[in-house]
Subunit: 162 residues, 2 copies
DNA sequence: CTGAGTTTGTTGCATTCGCAACAATGCCTC
DNA sequence: GAGGCATTGTTGCGAATGCAACAAACTCAG
């Protein structure tokens, strides 16, 4: 019989003060700057950032892409993507085309209007991002990115956005 | 007439590579760890983090508090809070009590079950936070918090959570 | 006191979301 | 190639959300 075993009844381990501070700051700041950029897009009567991300991911793949291959890097659930694509298709920004090797699914591709829209969104997105991040410099940004990637267990460099 | 004036037609300024990396990492990592903790609470059949935050903010205030005074620090819109309180009241976790000085509003106070619930949630929340943040140490966490707070324009130290 | 303007909080409505159930196809073993 | 399991994607439905309109109470100048 061991002493010190981690058991149910012992008081829950409390995250250290620095961990708590990082946790809180992460929640608040990420929300704040995401909202800043979201607002900029809305004010310009442009679609949500998510739409941008989908369009950009498709464009970056440079070939028709399966929904399942989008869902992973975009961090969204398949049923969300399904309806997201519904709406984007309705707006004429992407199209579902038949998938030869797997008749369950299909391939996604931006329409010409889709490419156009992505570009147009970037002209608002980019300055808004710049504005939201203006309080830190490049050196700090790099440091921040590295810390975050370590925190998230990402050890490869994330490719830049555009 | 000035040269160099920032005008509409010039190509949109593109955020530097480090800024873009920080932006992306911030979005992904914050989402990922938030979902981790949210999942832990859901698996324990406990309410959402937002409920915790409300209960904790009320408890920290140590006196009945106006909705408007909660909305600011919680970063949520009044109409969201309104319905949030509806649901929490329905579950018997908070109560609206009459406000003597302003008959428009009311004061919010946790019920005994509310205090109880906050405590119970913390026993899941704390270890989940610890787990989600385990990849960085205290020194890094502090550095991260400082960078984030600078980014968010917050120059006072954020009080720890519990 | 009165009436204009503000603050505080709620609500109707259309949209969106999350979940679990589902259809359809693919894959793999016997 | 038949039957069982896994993968891929969609959908019905109840709950939640965002927005704009709203009611009620407060403030304050005249």
């Amino acid at each position: 019989m061991r002493m010190q075993q981690t058991q149910l009844k012992e008081p829950a381990r409390i995250p250290s003060d620095p961990i708590q501070r990082a946790w809180i700051a992460l929640g608040r700041v990420s929300q704040a700057i995401r909202e800043d950029v979201a607002l900029a897009l809305k004010n310009a009567r442009l679609p949500d950032i998510t739409w941008y991300t989908v369009l950009w991911e498709l464009e970056r793949a440079a070939k028709p892409t399966r929904p399942k291959d989008l869902a992973i890097p975009l961090f969204i659930m398949p049923y969300q993507l399904s309806r997201l694509v519904d709406r984007m298709e309705e707006e004429g920004l992407v199209q579902r085309i038949a998938c030869p090797e797997d008749k369950r699914g299909h391939l996604l591709e931006p329409t010409p209007e889709g490419y156009e829209m992505r570009k147009r969104m970037w002209t608002v997105y980019a300055p808004a991002m710049e504005e939201a991040m203006k309080r830190i410099g490049d050196a700090e940004a790099l440091q921040l990115a590295q810390l975050l990637n370590r925190l998230g267990g990402i050890d490869y460099p994330v490719p830049p956005k555009a």
